[in-house]
Symmetry: C2
Subunit: 220 residues, 2 copies
DNA sequence: ATATTCTTCGGACAGGACGACAAAGAAAGT
DNA sequence: ACTTTCTTTGTCGTCCTGTCCGAAGAATAT
């Protein structure tokens, strides 16, 4: 009698809910579809085809496309940030941390799915509050990452910061975003060059010549 | 009898063609509509409403939306670049040039139409060759602008470049693009702060402390 | 086996956007 | 006034998409 809905599971619950796996698969399929066709051209059917299910299945799990897209974006943001935070935590020396974070901030190439997604959603931040919030979270987490590395390196005497840590961190994030876009888009800027320019700035701002691209510590 | 269509204009050509003005007005209206609703959500009807004409008029002047959008993008790229090249040409001292170009590279605010358009089209570069070409032109012209100012300033002894001019120019363009996006999107980064970070890098790379934000030559 | 609940499917439906078309309207020459 | 050409408009048909919905299928407890 108490908590009938939750405890009285004698003869109820014939088939257990296992929606999580399907939802995850659909999110994954949506990511592929968006990367291929572009966010603006992705339809319910594309996602269903990619996942190998009927269109009705997609709407069974997600109220509408907007909700699905929002979840894809949120997941992409979180994955990207978490992945990088792990990369940073894997090193001890701030220089190694900085180099690792810089490298993993750039897309591996024009087909980097995670990065493609992030860029596909960029213009939406102007128009939807939920997307703006996510984009802000992405920025804040990246900024935090760099600022931590810089201040820690500064405190331990490894870096001699030539500008305020806040400014350097913001500039690193900005450079990374912009070059990331060029690698993704077909602007014919190779990843190698983007990386060199990034490391060039890092070397200049931290007064650590070993980070400079011509010194083979970074882009090697 | 010869070339009847083109030369026999005696009593032909009753009403002269003046499509240019209308086309221009429609492009302008399309820009406003895209800025408001976002490129992905802009329909023929929105453009027609904005221009105060019927929807059929839009399709009379442009075969389809794609063609219209491509022209809007092309015009935005050209206007943006031309405007900045003029700004640079208005000054003599490379430091003034650099400061002017840096300032006019950032959107005036979240409603800067030209900049909004450029960012709305960004993700399309991955999917359409014509857009990729335009995006590339935008980048090249910006890069050229900065590189010229830097090398000229270096040659005249005004700047002491701490990194290759090519790298500094590329980084300035990249910073500008990224911060421009933050000003446009609702990421809550004010223009002032973006400008200060930009000038901070310029001061560092050119070894010209007067450009630094704290020295009131730039953003102040 | 059977009942119950969760999951999937595909068709029917409505809504909307685009493109075509033909007629009306405007501007200039004769 | 009349003709010719350019421009605009409104409507219609077509196509496509997202959503709804009922039925079929699958998984588990009894």
């Amino acid at each position: 009698m108490f908590f009938r809905h939750t405890t009285d599971a004698r003869n109820l619950l014939a088939r257990p809910k296992r929606q999580d796996a399907r939802r995850e698969a659909l999110l994954q399929a949506a990511g592929v579809a968006i990367q291929r066709r572009g966010l603006h051209a992705t339809r319910v059917r594309d996602i269903a085809d990619q996942a190998g299910v009927a269109a009705g299945t997609v709407t069974y799990y997600f109220r509408d496309l907007d909700e699905l897209f929002r979840l894809v974006f949120a997941q992409a943001v979180d994955r990207f940030c978490t992945q990088r935070e792990r990369e940073a935590a894997a090193h001890e020396d701030p220089r190694d941390q900085l180099a690792a974070v810089l490298r993993h901030g750039l897309p591996t190439g024009p087909d980097d799915q995670l990065c493609c997604l992030l860029y596909e959603f960029s213009p939406h931040a102007r128009h939807r509050d939920s997307d703006a919030q996510l984009r802000r979270e992405l920025y804040e987490r990246q900024l935090h990452l760099y600022r931590d590395v810089l201040t820690r390196g500064h405190a331990s005497g490894r870096f001699d910061l030539r500008r305020p840590a806040e400014e350097i961190a913001a500039n690193l994030v900005a450079l990374e975003d912009a070059y990331g876009y060029h690698v993704i888009a077909r602007t014919f800027m190779p990843r190698q060059q983007a990386e060199e320019h990034l490391f060039g700035y890092a070397a200049l701002a931290t007064a650590d010549p070993s980070l400079a691209p011509e010194n083979h510590y970074g882009p090697g």
